[in-house]
Amino acid sequence: MRNKNKKIEMSRRGFLARSACASMGVGGVVNTLAHMRLMEGALANTVTSIGDYKAAIVLFHFGATDSNNMLMPGSGHPARSNYEQHRGVLALPLSSPGGTNDPHPIVADNLATDPAAAAGAENFALHPELGDLKTMFDAGELAFAANVGTLVVPTTAATYNSVPLPPQLFSHSDQQNQWQSSIPDKPFQSGWSGRIADLLNPAWNIPDGKISMSVSLSGINDNQVSLLGDVSQYSVTNNGAISLNGYGTNYANALTDASNPTSYIRNANGRRLKAFQDIMNYTHDHLFEENYNVVVRRARQNEGFIGNAFSTANGWLHPSAVDNNGNPWGFIEGTFILQNGINPASGTALNNLPSLSRQLISIAKMIAGRNSLGNSRQLFFCSYGGHDTHQDQGGYSNGAGYVAGDLDDNMTTLNNALKAFNDVMKALASEPTLGGDFNYNDFILASHSDFNRTFTPNGSNPGSSGSDHAWGTNVYMMGGDVKGKNVFGYYPNLNPTGNWTTPGSSRGRWVPTSAVEQFSAPIAKWLGIADTEIGTIFPNLERFADPFTTGYDPSNFDSILANANMDWITSI
């Protein structure tokens, strides 16, 4: 006979099943179905191998970069004439008097060998400040994806007024959110990285992982929001883990050894920290109280693990960068300092680095110190703001010549940060102690942006003019497994009133030919998501062409949309 008072232990499988049923409200049928699919994926995920390391980094260009000038048509490219005719004062000449600000020509191998590509379609040029990215592109370490954006369904200029479009096109926060969720037609619930973490974390990081699979260098972000809530974002600052306030740097006023959380100093701070930690170790019946303590305890634990990773990485010294006390910089900081042209002997060398470089330093340290963190799959999110160049973008006119502006500053920062990070990753792969089994192809960095900017300028003065909000944009990918020296997707013809742009506008707002999910799905697959689970991470992907197909007819948009040309990662 059943004992009604018997406590029923709920298994994880049972909990997931019950929570799915409980959430099956009338109003949320669609979302709940998506939810159930995800949970089915979690339950069915049987990946058990562990040991190899992979880190995916999303770098979000907040504010929307003018990628029309990040990746521009080069000499002989069929869109070059439209670029020169319609870009106005934002058009950068391929060569100018003095030649000090010339764009860097690159040739995309995949288009050079594609019989369907138009003559010259392989010829591009990078912004004048992206000289090191050209070197990386030519070395096969960097690639671009053209005209990617948020989409609900495959869309062209011809269908723009008849198909559902992403809500609030041209709005910063909405488009940032949709890039990060890749589900523009549903209220936000989770980010695509967060869903990857939901599926991969149990198999790849448990039980050895000591910190969250999702680490953010840019505060709380949408991209890493977990759907199941099993993988919390963990925010790390440019200086490492976020410590409790009031105990000095690295708890120097309260602990004799920052890595030992119980090495209390016999002073007021030490006693206060001990008391606080003791209180946090209590257990509570009240769920909120208990969870508060859990969060604090976990933060303190993570802090220790991050600190260990940083300490490990800091032991890797740079051979030529020396600070003002004659001590060598850590290899990672030193590489970024030198790349940014900062005197390493300067007392403020590190503080003078741009935020993006400092974020990538922290990521590099966590990769170098990965054994202290224990995760075999790691997701990083970092960001770079200040791209909303409505004014003072920088441009060129015959009278004024080249006028540097905010885009030039941004591209300089980007160039230095990516170059230094790439150098560190390559060096780490050959570093005998920290490198271990790390290979250069164990990381991938991919960019996001709110949207592209209008192709036509909003003024005629090369100094003060800028560009406004548009849609499909060009993004880049970096890493050993990236099929470098290629341009994936489809580059617009740059006719601001033609059939690549939103109807009714003459500003050149390219309708994306690839959806965010088509661009991001290869990352998920590279990290270990099975083919059968890709649709769980990107539920709208089935509306679009398989990212890995190609063989398009360039004169036919239907053919273009049916051949995504987004197979940008090798060996997946």
């Binding site: 096109l169 709005s171 926060s173 200040g386 003065n461 003060s464």
Partner: protein, 232 residues
């Protein structure tokens, strides 16, 4: 007992089928306007008092006969946010010969736009109020990356064909842009679906200079640091 459970399950399934049919079934509506309203007419907060506050049936809106590119599309419907139900017979709404409907309270406010007798900041405030009125009804800002698209949305390119500003307003230029008193188009900057920054270039007619006129609004959606220009 089993019979009762069976009946309850059958009823539950029937309800779900009906709900799903409503949710996913083909729409027979030819216009997105609600068939009736359950409350008083919805106007701007600053609008005149309504003649009646009793629930009234709103007339069905005329079927849109505008060319496709001028049809308003409410993206927020993805999120279940339908436009407010309106009583279009309320005094605040004035039917036009071409089928559009002028929202007179907002239009009257906009009559003061670019009035040389008033502070230019008030121009921004008036425009902000007009966009807010649009947002109040359609649950989101006009979907606009350009000044011209804001003008289109405010002059009837929306599901109710509501006009918030008279298309013949002198502040609307020949190329269908709202211009400031110095004849420079206003800059409409969509920060989010709820936040539209509006800026005038000011006396020097150049954006990005010290005399630009705009209203600083606290940004509430998402992460404000996402737009931190100093994050370099």
């Amino acid at each position: 007992m089993k019979k009762f459970i069976f009946i309850a399950l059958a009823l539950l399934i029937a309800v779900e089928v009906v709900v799903l049919a409503i949710r996913f079934g083909p729409s027979t509506d030819t216009d997105p306007a609600p068939a009736q309203t359950s409350g008083p007419a919805q106007g701007l907060d600053t609008g005149p008092p309504l003649a009646s506050t009793a629930p009234t049936a709103a007339p069905r809106l005329p079927a849109p006969n505008l060319p496709p590119e001028t049809k308003g599309v409410i993206r927020s419907e993805f999120f279940g946010l339908k436009p407010l139900a309106l009583d279009l017979e309320a005094p605040v709404f004035q039917q036009q010969d071409d089928g559009r409907i002028l929202k007179t309270d907002v239009a009257e406010q906009l009559n003061d736009l670019n009035d040389p007798e008033q502070d230019p900041v008030q121009d921004i405030q008036i425009l902000t109020s007009a966009v807010a009125s649009y947002r109040q009804i359609f649950r989101e800002n006009p979907i606009a990356g350009e000044n011209r698209e804001v003008v289109e949305a405010l002059t009837g390119s929306n599901p109710y064909r509501l006009m918030f500003i008279d298309p013949t307003h002198p502040a609307i230029s020949s190329d269908n842009q709202l211009v400031d008193r110095w004849n420079v188009p206003y800059e409409f900057h969509p920060v989010s679906g709820d936040h539209m920054e509006i800026r005038s270039a000011g006396v020097d007619q150049q954006f990005g200079t010290g005399d630009d006129i705009m209203i600083e609004e606290p940004f509430e959606f998402g992460s404000s640091e996402n737009f931190d220009e100093s994050d370099q």
